[in-house]
């Protein structure tokens, strides 16, 4: 299960290890960490936002482990991938390292590539692929589509996005 947590850490060096150790000890996989150094609390702690995958029944144990380490757990959110979009890619998809393109989306922590169908008609000809991205929310979906677009354009691939992604009605109608 994918979990997001708002934590507070002491504003001294070397605090992050107190978060990472319990997560990894319970077999969790950290996907994203954001430090809000600019938003220091009145308790003189630093807010940190973490996203990781972990088995659901280990959550309670993790929370205890964190608090034992002096980490304040402000909020725990179970993230579900709710929003979906399909994106077409055309060009030399394989030669330009498809793996890395997918990894970049997966490493955001809020979106992942769930499905990919590829069609390669000829060795030297352009291939075509349709990628399905799932994200935790609409904004996250837009961000991940923009990210995919940026990577693909850098690789000289043609990217075809859904019409309502950033369209007239702000993407609420039909992103997938």
């Amino acid at each position: 299960m994918r979990i997001s947590m708002d934590l507070e850490l002491k504003d001294t060096p070397g605090q992050l290890i107190h978060v990472l150790t319990p997560v990894s000890a319970l077999g969790g996989n950290v996907l994203s960490i954001v430090h809000h150094h600019d938003k220091k609390t009145f308790r003189n702690t630093v807010p940190v936002y973490v996203i990781f995958d972990i088995e659901e029944h280990k959550l309670e144990e993790l929370q205890e482990g964190l608090e034992k380490n002096g980490v304040t757990v402000v909020r725990i959110g179970k993230m579900r991938l709710r929003e979906r979009a399909h994106i077409l890619l055309i060009g030399h998809i394989i030669h330009t390292d498809l793996r890395q393109t997918i990894d970049t989306i997966d490493s955001t922590g809020f979106a992942e590539v769930q499905d990919l169908s590829l069609s390669m008609p000829a060795i030297d000809g352009p291939s075509s692929a349709i990628v399905t991205i799932m994200a935790t929310g609409n904004e996250e979906l837009k961000t991940s589509i923009a990210l995919l677009k940026e990577i693909a354009e850098r690789k000289d691939l043609l990217v075809i996005v859904p019409i309502d992604e950033g369209g007239l009605s702000g993407g609420q109608n039909n992103a997938g």
Binding site: I163, G167, L168
Partner: protein
């Protein structure tokens, strides 16, 4: 105000497919009189329309005078210059000179020619305003599909927040055929060229240039912009593969070339099968998002001699009503 029984006089400048379409459709309208027709080779004064159309069909000259198109605009008495010379997006000529001369001589201009509007929209609308005449260009976007007058007249009082659509029939025909018949781009393009749907040099359509011109016209007309072709980010359809269209279809999408006026972009987009912009063949469609009326979608024939002429005729008739 003039006596409304006096004929409303037109000069048709440009006598290709659209000009000939105009000559056909105006014949059935009472109180409309074509005082001159100019093509690239000469001018016919007070033409017999059937005769001129027959001459054109046989490849004969239509000229019966020594005047040029500019002479007609300057010296022959008429109310409306119907400027239907071919679109030139490099510098708008020869249309741009015709527009300027017509407006300077206090003649209304009705056109299907995008070139002058893309090159000098601000200058031309300002000149028309200063001279107290009208510049009407419904036929430049979407052919027979009403959009410009729809927004200007019918939707007056709403604020337009966005316009986007399938604005090029050639691209739509190619993408539709590729998806439905599982044919490759090159093959469908040749077929479209054989049928007269695509030009021998198809670049203007398939590279998205024509759609971008329409985006420029709509942006200048309804978003108070001063943009030109260079401001539009354009991607055409030449790279699209049949495989990509099949993959999209398996997931319930078609690919359409979409012009987005607010974003100033032209790009192929995935359209859900049930979406109102998912029109097939050579059809055009446009969605207008307004503050109070929500989203309104229109569809219709985007090209063709008679269809484009019908849009020109609607502009002429609205000017005639304003005169009367």
């Amino acid at each position: 105000m003039q006596d409304n029984s006096s004929p409303f006089k037109l000069a048709i400048i440009g006598f290709g497919a659209v000009g000939q379409g105009v000559a056909r459709v105006v014949q059935s309208v009472p109180h409309l009189e074509v005082v001159a027709i100019a093509d690239s080779k000469g001018v016919a004064l007070t033409p017999d329309l059937e005769d001129v159309l027959a001459r054109k069909r046989k490849g004969k000259s239509i000229a019966n005078s020594d005047l040029t198109a500019l002479d007609v605009i300057r010296t022959v008495d008429h109310d409306v210059v119907v400027e239907v010379t071919p679109t030139n997006i490099e510098n708008g000529e020869p249309g741009l000179t015709h527009f300027r001369e017509a407006l300077k001589n206090k003649r209304n201009v009705v056109t299907s020619n995008k070139g002058p509007l893309v090159a000098a929209f601000g200058e031309l609308t300002e000149l028309a305003r200063a001279q107290g005449v009208a510049l009407r260009y419904e036929a430049t976007v979407g052919g027979a599909m009403p959009i410009i007058n729809l927004i200007r007249d019918t939707l007056a009082g709403t604020q337009v927040l966005g316009i986007r659509g399938v604005l090029n029939g050639t691209c739509n025909y190619i993408l539709t055929r590729m998806a439905e018949e599982a044919l490759e781009y090159d093959q469908v393009l040749s077929e479209a060229q054989d049928m007269g749907i695509a030009e021998a040099d198809p670049t203007y359509d398939v590279a998205g240039i024509d759609t971008a011109c329409k985006v420029v016209i709509l942006a200048n007309a309804f978003f108070n912009r001063q943009v030109t072709f260079a401001d539009v980010n354009v991607i055409g359809i030449e790279q699209i593969t049949q495989d990509a269209l099949q993959l999209a279809r398996q997931r319930g999408f078609m690919v359409k070339l979409i012009g987005d006026v607010q974003e100033l972009t032209v790009a192929p987009k995935l359209i859900p099968l049930g979406h109102p912009l998912n029109v097939s063949g050579t059809l055009n469609a446009a969605s207008i998002l307004t503050d109070t009326a929500g989203e309104i979608t229109v569809a219709g024939k985007g090209a063709g001699s008679i269809e484009t002429a019908s849009a020109i005729l609607s502009d002429i008739l609205s000017l005639m009503r304003e005169r009367d």
